[in-house]
Symmetry: C2
Subunit: 136 residues, 2 copies
Amino acid sequence: MSIGRVSERTGLSAHTLRFYEREGLFVEPIRRDTAGRRVFGEKEVGWLQVCARLRSSDMPLPDIRRYAELVRQGAGTEAERLELLRGHQARVERRARELRDSLDVIRFKVALYEEHFAAGSADTLWRDGPACAPAE
Amino acid sequence: MSIGRVSERTGLSAHTLRFYEREGLFVEPIRRDTAGRRVFGEKEVGWLQVCARLRSSDMPLPDIRRYAELVRQGAGTEAERLELLRGHQARVERRARELRDSLDVIRFKVALYEEHFAAGSADTLWRDGPACAPAE
DNA sequence: GCTTGACCTCGAGTCGACTCGAACTCCTAC
DNA sequence: GTAGGAGTTCGAGTCGACTCGAGGTCAAGC
């Protein structure tokens, strides 16, 4: 499978795929055809889909590289892989909570504006500072 | 209130507060004492707490600046402010969903490792590619 | 009067993850 | 045989939001 096809299937640009290879993010070296072009298999696509998920939840590239290294080293590294995943899981959950908290504030302010619009008194907003939230 | 005190109360560094002023993120110009030092009031602290929330949900500085500008302009700009907030709300909600989706994958993989550990067969993980998720 | 510490300005540096562009090589189809 | 398209390498550029550091000013306490 060509880099272009993989790019289509994963949503990652060809530039990014080459960059990921340079960065050592792949578990096995990418094969090449006679002309030196990269040849990808289903395994790589599956892994890239995982990578995309890890990235979209902001796992840093060094962590993904580390995970790839551990898989490369094979049996015996499973505990550290699990630890890596759990650490990331915890961070993502924390981040999700943070977003929820921010959403509370944003929704509060949106509701405030809507109420004032309904009451025709939007111009009284921000008299002596921002109205933040009920209990902040 | 000194910049140091505001830094303590908002969790934003003094450097960041000066940077925010340069970037025009404040609604009103920051007052100065005779020695040229910034003097903040409760209004500013409240606004900075809102800013911190907007930032922690990744609202870009230009959007916050725009919001501040609109407040500065006063009555008549409420509709655009509301629009700005709603746009951000939608983005944050989308982002929260994305994180949830990623969490599904991460939790699936964590569970997979745990099962294999329990079964004593962790070494059979990654035979022909990553196990991604039940239905991806 | 002198040290200490908190403040000031200004410009430059950092960081991570791409993203781009130039110059090149292939293979395929006409 | 040549034009086009997809691939290659390499190094440099971008972006946003800080973050830092040098060099200076000021007020209070000893």
